[in-house]
């Protein structure tokens, strides 16, 4: 019965060394993906991934696993479209099953303002290579007959954007496949290894101090989620990041009958059915910045209320578990990737509520940056100095959503 157990991935653990070429802080999706791409694309394997707890234990194992590219600005559409395509190939490349499934996402519009927003989304997506169309209520009914187009008589659906390439994958399996792929090529992964401080020489980071002692490297990358501002401060950098909790919950397992991902900006929720048959539901970030992982009543109460407004069948499903992650929000809702004013120290952060979907491309690009010493074009718009240069990448297509 347990066909969903991981049966292929093998991980090996080694004692830490003193020096590496690259140290990656954070054994989540982005850290592991960078290590994987360093090893597979650039033959750089003298790499250590340091993880405070266990790999994939932060947001990489807490997210709602949506993969999509229907963003609001050209730079983001191109970036995430690359990720959508890399995800489509990742199972074959790693020979590991990630439960990757193309589902399509419907983003409901209930007001004229949101109709405009969803039409605009389709415009910019189409122009930059992501497939998104605007669909009418009749077409929505064909794609997702479960949707109550009257919105419970209160929030009628006027239309939606439909992004057929949106997919989901099992987050843990993505993390493990990348960890294994890096690991078997020689990358070290050290769990329960917490970075206490960064070791600096002048304006250069030369290594890290951990609970297992010092480790040195030419390049240190922070791929930390949640506490990134604390790591950056160790380097002497103040990041424009605020950390907010984000909650989600799942129901018990049901037959696989609900195909698409459904989201609504007005009703502020999104839902999909996992490969294991759970209905997975999320909403927006908590307004108050916090590192708190406590789950809240207000979220699950109001989100359920809104979700059953649009999808009445959800009313009768029994809830299994509610949990929380902490999201690093940048002021413009776009990621921050690349070099920092401190030599030898690069970062990938600002992954807010959209980190999972960027794991393959984020790792690919950061690996190229580390290997070549120059910023790849695809992520140049997301450099940290954009805030100083007044070249922020305001993206309403990602704001406060999954």
């Amino acid at each position: 019965m347990n066909e969903f157990m991981e049966k292929k991935v093998k991980l090996k653990w080694y004692e830490p060394k003193q020096t590496y070429d690259v140290i990656i802080i954070g054994g989540g999706g982005h850290g592991l993906s960078t290590a994987y791409h360093l090893a597979t694309r650039h033959d750089i394997t003298n790499v250590a991934v340091l993880e405070r707890k266990y790999i994939g234990g932060g947001n990489s194992g807490r997210n709602t696993t949506v993969i999509r590219a229907n963003y609001g600005i050209p730079e983001a559409v191109k970036f995430y479209q690359r990720s959508v395509e890399l995800y489509q190939r990742l199972e074959e490349e790693t020979d590991r099953w990630m439960m990757h499934k193309q589902k399509g996402i419907l983003w409901m519009a209930h007001t004229e303002a949101h109709v405009r927003q969803e039409k605009a989304r389709a415009e910019v997506n189409t122009a930059f290579g992501a497939k998104t169309i605007y669909v009418t209520p009749k077409e929505i009914n064909e794609i997702a007959p479960e949707v109550d187009l009257t919105g419970g008589g209160k929030w009628p659906v006027l239309g939606a954007s439909y992004h057929p390439e949106a997919a989901t994958a099992r987050h843990d399996r993505v993390n493990w496949a990348l960890a294994e792929g890096a690991n078997k090529r020689g990358v070290y992964i050290h769990q329960r290894t917490e970075v206490i401080d960064l070791l600096k020489e002048g304006n250069r980071v030369i290594g890290v101090m951990t609970n297992h002692g010092p480790m040195y490297a030419k390049t240190v990358m922070s791929a930390v989620g949640g506490h990134v501002t604390r790591i950056a401060r160790m380097a002497g950098i103040r990041l424009p990041i605020r950390t907010h909790p984000l909650q989600a919950y799942v129901t018990n397992h049901y037959e696989l009958e609900f195909d698409p991902i459904v989201a609504s900006t007005s009703l502020l929720f999104y839902v999909s059915q996992t490969a294991r048959g759970e209905m997975l539901i999320g909403a927006e970030i908590d307004r108050q910045p916090s590192y708190n992982y406590r789950a809240g009543h207000h979220l699950i109460q109001t989100c359920s209320f809104r979700a059953i407004t649009l999808l009445p069948f959800l009313r009768h499903l029994r809830i299994l578990r509610q949990w929380t992650g902490v999201c690093d929000m940048s002021p413009d809702y776009s990621p921050i990737m690349g070099f920092t004013p401190v030599e030898g120290f690069v970062i990938t952060t600002g992954w807010g509520t959209w980190g999972f979907k960027a794991i393959p491309v984020g790792g690919e690009q950061m690996a190229e940056l580390i290997a070549t010493g120059r910023t790849p074009d695809l992520i140049a718009p997301f450099a940290l100095d954009r805030f100083k240069k007044d070249r922020t990448k305001a993206d309403r297509g990602s704001a406060g959503t999954h």
């Binding site: 019965m1 405009r116 910019v124 009958e257 109460q301 922020t392």
Partner: protein, 730 residues
């Protein structure tokens, strides 16, 4: 009474649980597995009246109740249909001093000890299932009739007892296996258990053979027929039986206490016990929910998954309905045996006992949209109402063209009560506004208004509106409909932070506002009692049609316009009077749809639609209203810094050759990305498609000829219509 199991009626007695009724009828809800009768194990789950994953041992039978078994044909239960009848679940809030969860011995003692205080007790056995402790603290309790939200002032006592440990051995999925306590309960219920053998702590008041040694396996077809034990010498003995009663130790039910970490929660009785760690099993199913065997655990351990959380995630043990109540003791003993370390348990999360989304939603408030005092009037006029900026507003009255032309050629009115309207008063009012706004507030003369932007600390546009001055200690300001609630917080935060002596009075809901606009607006107002002309960008208190108004002359539509602010209770009277007086002038009300066209022709921006998170005044051609010579205003520091950086893009106007481009359409120049549209419409008066949008500089210059939606388009100066603004100032 009868209940219906898989389409067939079986008898049930009043007060009996569904599970006991089924067992009496020789039916096992899931076919087998060691039943606990205490809501801990996953072996009695079924679909009850359309809701799946219900623990039948916790559910009292009701006449006609429909039970369907899960996992028929190895499938999960189907998703329920949408149209199943339902009643809204009610919620009740109870404020008290102490909440005691669990009414066993320890729970009763805790309740008794709190005598004199307002104590609320809940007990799963009485059908009150505590599903979570949240911050507040708040205890959420599910019952069959309603949801209870308990708000204790002092403390929460968790007295939920302990769960009996499940057996792990081949054959443990057979029927006829019971925990010791379950055996006691079933015997007391009058169920014939047949020949009973017991292991560990035996059940009381039951004639059972107590076995020694260790369990090797359970044997039988569907129901247990024998248990095979191994003695100290390694010899296996087979014991025939009809029922096995297992007292394997206890695992505290402390999930609620763990959830309440950091809150005033006290755990008493068995729930506070150290968890027993059973011996590491050699074979069998460890996690019945996900079907994880000892072999699976061995495999995953050898594959390198050695942290409790990784083992849970890789095997999925503990991720099912019982959330680890069955498997967690064994996962711990397994990891201890393999790695020599007793690892912590996985995190306790809501929900502790299960409930439906319909139940958890109980008591949630519908996010209602505000309605203006004229809402009913609009609906009577046949308006298509639309949610906009947190309000219900007329989108149109079904006659867009007529509404538009009434503004351009005659006279029209619009309900603009949704505008943010604030009085800023007090000795420091002027100083306060000088710091808030980038414009010179002190140069505004009494009785006059000025259009101004609100900037955030980063120097980006946050809101816009008017500043009207009565005197140095009293101003009226307006804000956008959608931005007001945020801007109000913004104003109050800064007033407090700066320690200035100002009062902020939000009159948005108490004042109505009607905009009278069009070349005949003045004629109408004269008929309505406006005694003398009012100059552009001035205001005056004046009675109009018998209603005291503050009249602001301004213009968003491009025509001569008068905004009449008045007590909201007089809105209907004022509206009707204007409509009546204007009948001869051909007056027609207009909605938002016409307004957005009218203002677009004038190039007037809508903050939030045409602006983005990075819109500086410079990028939207509004530099003229920012006075950098002022020593301080919010956003000045950032603006001065970014002001030295070369511009990358501007909000500009476009005219397209044919048709109307899509709002949001991409702007191309020489096949390169050059920007996108924020607003677009067909201009009836200009007879062409016009748009506002962001245009990027290319090689230091703003392109002129571009392509939008495949059509040639041209950047043009704003506004599109009435460039001299002669009409508004007439």
């Amino acid at each position: 009474m009868r209940i219906i199991v898989d389409g067939k009626p079986i008898p049930a007695e009043r007060g009996e649980t569904v599970l006991v009724a089924m067992l009496k009828a020789d039916q096992h809800p899931t076919g087998g597995g060691c039943l606990c009768l205490a809501g801990d194990c996953p072996h009695c789950l079924a679909t009850v009246d359309g809701v799946s994953y219900v623990r039948t041992c916790q559910t009292r039978a009701k006449p006609g109740m429909v039970i369907e078994r899960h996992h028929r044909n190895g499938q999960y239960p189907p998703l329920p249909t949408a149209d199943r009848l339902h009643e809204e679940v009610k919620a009740r809030n109870i404020h008290c001093d102490v909440v005691v969860i669990g009414q066993g011995e320890a729970g009763r003692a805790a309740a008794a000890a709190a005598e004199g205080k307002h104590v609320v007790t809940v007990d799963a056995a009485a059908g009150q299932e505590a599903i979570a402790i949240y911050a507040g603290p708040r205890v959420v309790v599910r019952t069959d009739r309603e949801m209870l939200y308990l708000h204790p002032q002092e403390e929460i006592v968790v007295a939920t007892g302990a769960a009996e440990i499940q057996p792990v051995a081949p054959g443990a999925e057979l029927a006829g296996l019971l925990t010791s306590r379950a055996a006691e309960v079933l015997a007391a219920a009058g169920i014939d258990l047949g020949r009973v053998v017991a292991f560990g702590t035996p059940p009381q008041n039951i004639d059972a053979e107590l076995l020694q040694g260790e369990i090797v396996r359970f044997e039988g077809e569907n129901r247990v027929e024998a248990i095979v034990m191994r003695d100290a010498n390694g010899v296996e003995n087979r014991h025939k039986c009809d029922t096995v009663a297992l007292g394997l130790g206890f695992h505290p039910r402390d999930a609620l206490a763990l959830m309440g970490h950091g809150l005033p929660v006290r755990t008493v009785g068995d729930a506070a016990l150290e968890a027993d760690v059973p011996s590491c099993p050699a074979a069998g199913i460890v996690c019945a929910c996900s079907g994880v065997s000892v072999d699976d655990l061995n495999y995953t351990w050898e594959s390198g998954f050695r942290e409790m959380e990784l083992i849970k995630r890789s095997t999925l043990a503990g991720t099912g309905t019982c959330q680890g109540m069955g498997c967690l003791p064994y996962l711990r003993s397994f990891i201890q045996e393999k790695g020599g370390e007793l690892q912590p348990r996985f995190t306790a999360r809501p929900v502790n006992r299960q409930l439906t989304m319909g139940e958890i939603a109980a008591g949630a408030h519908h996010h209602a949209m505000a309605r203006t005092a004229l809402d009913e009037v609009h609906r009577q006029l046949g308006a298509n109402m639309e949610r906009s900026g947190g309000w219900w507003r007329p989108w149109n009255y079904g006659k867009l063209q007529e509404e538009y032309w009434a503004v351009r050629e005659g006279v029209s009115i619009m309900d603009v009560s949704t505008l943010g309207k604030m009085i800023i008063s007090g000795p420091d009012a002027l100083e306060f506004l000088e710091r808030i706004y980038p414009t010179h507030v002190r140069t505004i003369r009494p009785g006059r208004t000025r259009y101004a932007l609100l900037l955030n600390e980063r120097g980006y546009v946050m809101d816009d509106g008017l500043i009207g001055k009565e005197n140095d200690t009293r101003f009226t300001i307006t804000l956008t409909s959608g931005g007001t609630s945020h801007s109000e917080m913004w104003l109050r935060d800064w007033a407090r932070g700066w320690g200035l002596d100002v009062r902020i009075l939000n009159q948005t809901y108490t004042l109505g506002a009607i905009n009278v606009t069009g070349p005949l607006a003045r004629t109408l107002l004269e008929q309505a009692g406006m005694s003398e002309p009012l100059k552009f960008m001035r205001f005056r208190d004046q009675e109009i049609a018998g209603v005291s108004c503050r009249v602001f002359r301004l213009s968003f539509t491009g025509e001569e316009s008068y905004e009449l602010h008045h007590p909201a209770e007089d809105s209907v009277k004022l509206w009707r009077a204007l409509m009546e007086l204007g009948a001869d002038l051909g007056i027609k009300p207009h909605g938002l749809e016409a307004l957005v066209m009218l203002r677009l022709e004038k190039g007037h921006i809508i903050v939030g639609q045409d602006t983005d998170y990075d819109s500086t005044p410079r990028r939207i051609h509004h530099e003229w209203m920012v006075k950098p010579e002022k020593e301080f205003f919010l956003g000045r520091t950032s603006m001065m810094r970014t002001g030295r950086i070369e511009l990358d893009k501007m909000l500009v106007g476009f005219e397209v050759a044919e048709g109307v481009p899509q709002e949001g359409a991409v702007v191309w120049h020489d096949e390169e990305y050059a920007g996108y549209l924020t607003s677009a419409a067909w201009s009836p008066v200009l007879q062409k498609g016009i748009a506002l949008g962001w245009l990027y500089y290319q090689d230091g210059e703003l392109p002129t000829d571009v392509t939008i939606n495949g059509q040639p388009a041209r950047r043009v100066d704003l506004p599109f219509y009435d460039k001299e603004a002669a009409r508004a100032r007439a």
